[in-house]
Amino acid sequence: MTSSELPASIEVEGLVKQFKKGPRAVDGIDLHVDPGEIYGFLGPNGAGKSTTVLMLTTLLPPTAGTARVAGWDVARDGARVRESIGAALQEAALDPFLTAREHMRLQTALHGLPKGERERRGDDLIERVGLADAADRKVGGYSGGMRRRLDLALSLVHRPRILFLDEPTTGLDPQSRASLWDEVARLSREDGVTVFLTTQYLEEADALAARVGIIDNGKLVAEGTPAALKAEIGEPGLEVVPAEDERRDDMARVLERFGDGECVHHERGSIGVRLQGGDAALAGVVRALDAEGIGVASLQLHAPTLDDVFLAKTGRSLEGAGEDEEEDAAAEAERTAEGVPA
C-alpha cells in the first residue's frame, strides 16, 4: 500500500507520555481527526499539547498507547509518517543567517525534490505566503509574523497531507494572526490538508477548527465542535466589574446567589458567573446589587465561549492557567537523557 492510498487521518488511542523525572505529561488520550479536517487542540501551557505533537510527529517515542498518522504507526513507521506530514513547531526555528529562498533551497533538497523542481517549488511557496518581496533578505531581520509564515511555507515543501501547527500564532499581532489563519483555512479548504493545530487562544480554535479537543493536565477533558461544546454549557456568562474594588467580595456573594457554581475572578478585574436561568435572570441580579448598594462599573452578558467550556470542564479559567513550563522542561530533559537504542 502506498501512502497516498491511506486516509490522511489521525487516530490516537490511549496515548501516554510518562517522563522519567516528571509528570505524566500526556495521560491516556484518545483522538480522531478526519481527513481534511482542522482540529484545534486547546489547552494552557504545560497541559500536554506540545508533548502530544512531538509524539504524533515521531520526534518523541510514546510511553504507551498507539497513534496512527496518515495510516502509519508513529512508533513503528516513523519515516512513513514523516513523509506524510508537515510540521511547524513552536517558535519558528529558522537560521537567522539564511534568506527565505536559501531556507527553501535547503528544505527542498533534504526532501529529495528533483533538482529542476526545487527552485520553482520554493518560489511558489514563498509567493503563496506573501514573502516574495523579502525572499532574499536574511531571516534574522524578519518580524515574528514573517517568520511564522516562512515556517509554514517550509512545512509544505513536500506537499504533506497532514499539517501539525504547534501554537502557530503565539506572540503575533492581530493582523499577522489573521493572515496566518486565512492561509491555514485555505490549505484545508482548497487542498484538503488535514490540520492539527494546538493553541492557547480560544478565538483561534473558534475561528479555524471544525472540532476542538480541550486538554488539561495531560487528559482530554472535552471534545466536539465549538458550537456543540458551547451548547453543552447552555447558560450565558455574566461578567461584572464593581465600581469600588473594596466591594468585590460583597458583589461575588450576590452573584453567587444567581450563579451556577462559584464566581471566577478574572485578571482583567471583572467577576464572572454562569447565569442560572439564562438571560431572564439578569434583571434580578441588577436589582439585588442595587438593594445592597453595590455600584457597577460595567456589566456584560455573553453567550457561552470556549473559555466557559474550559472553565466548566476544568474548574479554571484558561486565562493564566498553567503558567509553569514544567512540562516543556521535562520534555526537553527527557529528549536529551532518555535516548533510544541505536
Binding site: 536559501e102 536529551t336 533510544v340
Partner: protein, 260 residues
C-alpha cells in the same frame, strides 16, 4: 536511501554550513588571524631556540609554523560544535529531523562545511609562512599533502565538536572545550622537539599526546625531506581520533534526536 540522495543531503547541509560561516566574520576572522598572531609572537620571541644543539629545523619560524594548522583543528571543534548547539537550542535540528535527512549526512555535511574553512585556513597559513621566510622542502606536492593533512585534522577535531554539541546541547558548554584543547596543544611538542624536552613528566605527556604526532607530520613536510613514517603517524593519529569520536558522535546524536 540511495547514495545519490545521501550525497544531495550532505551537499545541502555542507552548503548551509558554509554560507552561515561565511556570513559570520566574527567566526572566520579569529580562526585565521589568531593562529597567525600566535605564530608571529612565537617566531619572534623564541627565535633563539633554533640555536640549541640538535635543533632539527633550519630556523624557529619554520618549526613553529606547524602550530597554526593544529589551531585550525581547535577552531573547528568550537565552530562546528557551536553551530550544531545553536541548531539544537533553536529547534532547527527538529526541522531537519522531520525531513528524510540521514544521521550520516547530517554529521558529514556539518563537518564538510568546516573542512572547507580548514582548506582556506591551510592555504593562508602556508602562504603567510612562506612569505615570512619559512622553507618548504617537499615543494608543491608537500603543500598539497599538507592541505590534505589539515583537512584530516579538521575532520577529526570536528567530530569532537559534534560529539560535544550533541552531548551538552548548548553553545557555552562547547565553547568550554576550547581552553581544554589548548592545554593539549601546549602539552605537546609544540614549542620544542621531543628530544629537547628535559622535564620528564612533560616529555612523557608529549610522547603520548597525539597532537605531537600531528605536529611532527606537518613539520616533516617543511624540513628534512619526505618522511613516510612521520606522515603515516600524523594521518594515523587523525584517523584514530576520528575512529574514537565518530561512533561517539553518532551515539550522542541518537540520544539527541529520538525520532522513531
Amino acid at each position: 536511501m540511495s547514495w545519490g540522495e545521501t550525497l544531495t543531503q550532505i551537499r545541502a547541509i555542507a552548503w548551509r554550513s558554509l554560507v552561515r560561516t561565511a556570513r559570520q566574520p566574527a567566526q572566520v576572522v579569529p580562526a585565521i588571524t589568531f593562529p597567525l598572531f600566535l605564530f608571529a609572537i612565537n617566531a619572534a620571541g623564541l627565535d633563539a631556540a633554533a640555536g640549541l644543539p640538535d635543533f632539527p629545523a633550519p630556523d624557529y619560524l619554520t618549526f613553529i609554523l606547524a602550530v597554526p594548522f593544529i589551531q585550525a583543528g581547535i577552531f573547528a571543534v568550537s565552530g562546528v560544535g557551536a553551530d550544531l548547539a545553536r541548531d539544537i537550542e533553536s529547534g532547527f535540528l527538529d526541522r531537519l529531523a522531520l525531513t528524510p535527512l540521514s544521521r550520516t549526512a547530517l554529521v558529514s555535511g556539518q563537518i564538510a562545511g568546516t573542512m572547507a574553512l580548514g582548506i582556506v585556513q591551510g592555504i593562508i597559513f602556508v602562504a603567510v609562512g612562506l612569505a615570512a621566510g619559512a622553507t618548504l622542502d617537499t615543494g608543491v606536492t608537500g603543500a598539497l599533502v599538507l592541505i590534505a593533512l589539515v583537512v584530516a585534522i579538521v575532520f577529526a577535531f570536528g567530530l569532537i565538536g559534534v560529539t560535544a554539541a550533541f552531548k551538552f546541547g548548548n553553545g557555552e558548554a562547547v565553547q568550554g572545550l576550547f581552553p581544554v584543547l589548548f592545554v593539549f596543544l601546549f602539552l605537546s611538542t609544540m614549542a620544542l622537539p621531543r628530544d629537547l624536552l628535559t622535564n620528564d613528566w612533560f616529555r612523557v605527556i608529549a610522547t603520548y599526546n597525539p597532537v605531537s604526532y600531528l605536529l611532527d607530520g606537518i613539520r616533516s613536510l617543511f624540513y628534512g625531506g619526505w618522511d613516510a613514517e612521520a606522515l603515516a603517524l600524523a594521518f594515523g593519529c587523525a584517523a584514530a581520533i576520528a575512529a574514537v569520536f565518530l561512533p561517539l558522535a553518532i551515539r550522542t546524536l541518537n540520544t539527541r534526536v529520538v525520532r522513531t
